[in-house]
Amino acid sequence: MLRRRRLTTALSALALASTLVLTLGLAGCGPDEEAVPVDLSRREEPVPAVPKRGLTYAYLPQYAHAVSYRRHRLLVEYLSKAVGMPMRQVFPNTFDEHVKMVSRGEIDISFSNPFVYLRLADYGARAFARIIEPSGKPDFRGQIISRKDDSSITALADCRGKRWMAVDPSSAGGYLFALGEFYDQGIRREDFAEIGFAPGPGGKQEKTVLAVYSGTWDVGSIREGTLAVLADRIDLDRIRVLAETRAYPSWVYAARPGLDPDIVRKIAKAMFALSISRPDDAVILQTANIRGIIQADDADYDSVRELVEKLGLSQEAAQ
């Protein structure tokens, strides 16, 4: 009897051992691939890339840098050729950084909204061109939106006491123009339960629409054309446009203070030469999401200045 029990134990042990050996033996066999030997011990200190010389071009970072790059790459290449000087895009991360880089001379050509331009102008930058919006007009509006299913907001006056999301404190179409519209309607900033701004960086216009669309915020303010960008991604029928602001001059090209006026002239000339009717130019313009570029000067933006003044934002902007 004892001998049989030993035999049983031995059988169990043998079975267990063979299972383990088999399994571990098999587990070692992975898919066979040829490995390239590499020596990680040989090291070197990385050499930092030296920025290229040439003109710098910056697009106010209202979108992601990649979007900014994609939109303006062809235009920058065109201008570089036209001017005969290397030109590259630089990408400040924020509006403030954009403004500061212009003031520091790190951005030669700035493409910004009218509200930011006022701050750039304060640093000595001067407008020399402005774009024709995709709508075909050299100006643009802001829009105030809410959800259609929100029956408590059917008119601008209903926005009082509501939570408002704007694009950015420095946004023109997404904040400033709407603020002016509310002001004209007798609604002050303090009349809102809360004013918030879309989290950055990049895609802030779209985020504002989505914030209202999802019901997180009651009211939103965006520049015109933003809804069309989201047409394929959300059901626009659920968005109610409460009001559109009056039109203000469109986005503006400004040269930094101290940039050679000749270069500015050459650039302006090349810009004005672009025509949507020419296929090559059309590609450049459409990629940049503009219809054309026309001449402009600082006075064109007085209407915006007035609005800022009216709203008492000049002090804030200066800070």
Binding site: R4, L7, T8, L11, S12, L14, A15, L16, S18, T19, L20, L22, T23, L24, L26, A27, G28, C29, G30, P31, E33, E34, A35, V36, P37, V38, D39, L40, S41, R42, R43, E44, E45, P46, V47, P48, A49, P51, A64, H65, A66, S68, Y69, R70, R73, Q89, V90, F91, P92, N93, P201, G202
Partner: protein, 690 residues
């Protein structure tokens, strides 16, 4: 494995071995397959994961690259490299310069160019093996950073394959552990199962061993929890299954359940399948085997009992036959065709003077002289050849003992193949003696009748002769010659008349007035009558009678006649000067004995057998009729007694009492033995008579 080793394994070990082998055959390929699939899946997964991470990194870094934000780039690569299985991450610009890397002190030079994202987009994966003894395997992923169709550089990251293989190893070990545990559980379960099964088989085996040892009363089947009559609640007390807890009802004939009435056990297996009793009490194959075994041992027990009875009966009969055979005084023997003894009875063994065991298998030539043995063999062979029984009467002498035997040899069927010979030797010595005596008696009866007839016819003429002779005597003077002649006629006629009277006595036995009479008295009277003539011949007559009276039933005259015959014979045998001793006694067997011994000339041995025959006499003509002893013999026999004669007289009979000067002959002794009728004083018969 040696098949003999497997066949020697215990049943339990075989079950365990079988289950272990099944599990191994099952678990081995499954674990192998699962591990292999898991390894492949994991490898594919880490490749996909690495590619996605690299591509995500390439997308994430675009803004930072455009912005030249090296800090953010550094943060991003550090963040991604902090993930457990990622060895490194770095960003290269379009010229291959490292913009940011997760390496803190210096960047491995070889890493920069060892992998590059393909020109046509997509992510390149290369397997790297780091230098060193335990070099690590790393998948290097290179994803291009493309902005608006332009290549800005590439994001690279290294994912440790070695660490994933370790995970696969751990997975395999876990699976092996689970399989091992399952195996152990299976072995434990199979051991329990096998122990249960083998325990039941062992019960069967022990039962079988007990059966071999002759114990048929054990039960291998386990008792039922509920018997059929309890399940059915039938109350059929006369059903053969009711109360029988040992046998299953579907194995019994004549059960009275409505479901199975009038069905044989063979049909029942079919019809009982749906019966509740069958469902509840039907066991597994081992249970069936055990129950069948029980049925078998019960049947075996019954058969054995029958066999024992039959054996006892046969043994009884054999004993009986042996007793009969041994009890018979006949010599019975059975021989085979080679004339060797197959069987002998006790009488024959005693005849040969050997125990039966030493006789069987041997032949006659080993027991008999060659001549006799040959003669016996010829008789046997003759019977074997003819097939007919042989019988004869022969005298056989063995160890000095002589005897007549009636021999019968017959052919008999042998116990096996071939014929056997049965020989029976029946001793007929006594029969022959009786037969001779019968012939003698018949002869005497014929002679008696003849003599009687003759005597009767002669008696009358004799009377006439005697009468006329006496008449003439009266007429003839006494001195005349004629008177003398007539006297002679008268005398011889008287002799003849005596002879005729004896003949008549012999034939008719006369008138028998039988009554109780004292033997001693008859002897005394006879001796008194004869005594006077004895003295003249100087013959001494001695009478020695016991005090005790011996009463016999007889006619005293006839008895006296016998005694006087004996005394006359003695006197004639002695002649002169001798002794006659008459003694009487009671024999040990309670009879009365009268002995007449004389010192006479005795009787020749050849005449001893004939002395009681009628007309046998050795006396000269005219001295005796030869009827005296024959008549005496007839009288004693008539009274249920015996008469014997011995000659010469045994030594010592007369040694002391022989008279001086006498020349004793060989002598003879006549002994008559009579049954005693009653005992008492010698006056009793007279009283009865008076």
């Amino acid at each position: 494995m040696n098949p003999h080793i497997v066949s020697r394994l215990s049943f339990r070990s075989k079950i365990n071995l079988g289950i272990v082998l099944i599990l191994l055959c099952f678990a081995g390929p499954v674990i192998w397959l699962a591990t292999d699939m898991a390894a492949r899946e994991l490898m594919n997964e880490i490749k996909a994961k690495g590619a996605i991470l690299a591509e995500n990194l390439a997308v994430q870094v675009t803004d930072s690259m455009l912005a030249g934000d090296l800090l953010r780039l550094k943060n991003m690569v550090d963040e991604i490299a902090a993930v457990d299985d990622i060895n490194y991450a770095f960003i290269q610009d379009a010229e291959g310069r490292v913009q940011a890397s997760s390496y803190a002190g210096g960047f491995p030079v070889e890493l920069k160019t060892i992998n590059a994202a393909p020109e046509d987009g997509g992510t390149s994966v290369r397997l790297l093996k780091t230098s060193g003894a335990d070099g690590e395997l790393i998948y290097d992923f290179a994803a291009p950073v493309i902005i608006s169709g332009a290549r800005f550089g590439q994001a690279r990251l290294g994912l440790s394959r070695t660490r994933h293989e370790a995970r696969i190893g751990r997975l395999a070990a876990a699976m092996a552990g689970v399989a091992g545990a399952a195996l152990c559980l299976a072995v434990v379960a199979s051991t329990l199962f096998a122990r249960r099964v083998s325990a039941r088989i062992n019960v069967l085996r022990e039962h079988a061993e007990e059966v071999v040892r002759g114990n048929l009363d054990l039960r291998a089947g386990s008792p039922l929890k509920k018997n059929c009559w309890e399940i059915m609640q039938c109350g059929l007390l006369s059903c053969p299954a009711h109360g029988d807890a040992e046998r299953r009802c579907w194995r019994l004939a004549g059960t009275m359940c409505p479901n199975c009435r009038d069905k044989t056990p063979r049909d029942k297996e079919e019809s009982c399948l749906n019966c509740e009793v069958y469902k509840q009490n039907k066991g597994d194959e081992i249970q069936d085997l055990a129950e069948t075994f029980d049925v078998m041992s019960a049947a075996l027990k019954a058969r054995l009992a029958e066999l024992r009875d039959a054996q006892a009966s046969i043994a009884g009969q054999e004993r009986l036959l042996r007793v009969i055979l041994d009890a018979t005084p006949d010599h019975v023997s059975l021989l085979d065709a080679d004339l060797r003894y197959l069987a002998v009875n006790r009488a024959y063994a005693g005849f040969l003077g050997l125990p039966p065991s030493e006789i069987l298998g041997r032949a006659d030539r080993e027991f008999f002289p060659p001549e006799e043995a040959r003669a016996r063999e010829e008789e046997f062979l003759g019977v074997l050849a003819s097939g007919k029984a042989f019988h004869k009467e022969a005298e056989i002498v063995r160890d000095g003992r002589r005897g007549w035997y009636h021999i019968l040899i017959a052919q008999a069927p042998g116990p096996r193949e071939g014929a056997a010979l049965l020989r029976t030797d029946r001793e007929v010595t006594e029969v022959r003696r009786y037969r001779e005596q019968l012939i003698q008696a018949q002869k005497m009866e014929s002679v008696g009748k003849l003599a009687g007839g003759v005597a009767h016819e002669i008696n009358t003429p004799l009377g006439v002769i005697l009468g006329y002779a006496q008449l003439l005597l009266d007429d003839v003077p006494e001195d005349a010659q004629m008177h003398e002649d007539l006297k002679a006629i008268e005398k011889q006629t008287l002799v003849c008349r005596d002879i005729v009277a004896d003949l008549l006595k012999f034939s008719r036995r006369g008138d028998d007035r039988r009554r109780p009479v004292s033997l001693n008295d008859t002897l005394r009277e006879a001796v008194g009558l004869a005594g006077r003539s004895f003295a003249n011949q100087r013959i001494r007559l001695e009478l020695d009678l016991p005090e005790e009276e011996m009463i016999v039933a007889a006619d005293p005259e006839r008895l006296k006649q016998v005694w006087i015959n004996f005394l006359n014979n003695a006197r004639d045998a002695i002649g002169e000067n001798g002794l006659v001793a008459v003694t009487a006694r009671k024999t040990p067997d309670g009879r009365a004995e009268a002995v007449f011994a004389d010192t006479g000339s005795g009787i020749a041995p050849e005449n001893l057998k004939m002395v009681f025959d009628p007309f046998f006499t050795t006396k000269p003509v005219g001295s005796g009729t030869g009827l005296g002893l024959a008549v005496s013999y007839g009288i004693i026999k008539d009274y249920g007694g015996e008469l014997a004669v011995t000659s010469p007289a045994p030594e010592g009979v007369f040694a002391v009492r022989t008279p001086e000067g006498a020349a004793p002959g060989p002598g003879s002794v006549f002994t008559a033995v009579l049954p005693i009728a009653a005992q008492g004083s010698k006056d009793m018969p007279r009283n009865e008579e008076g």
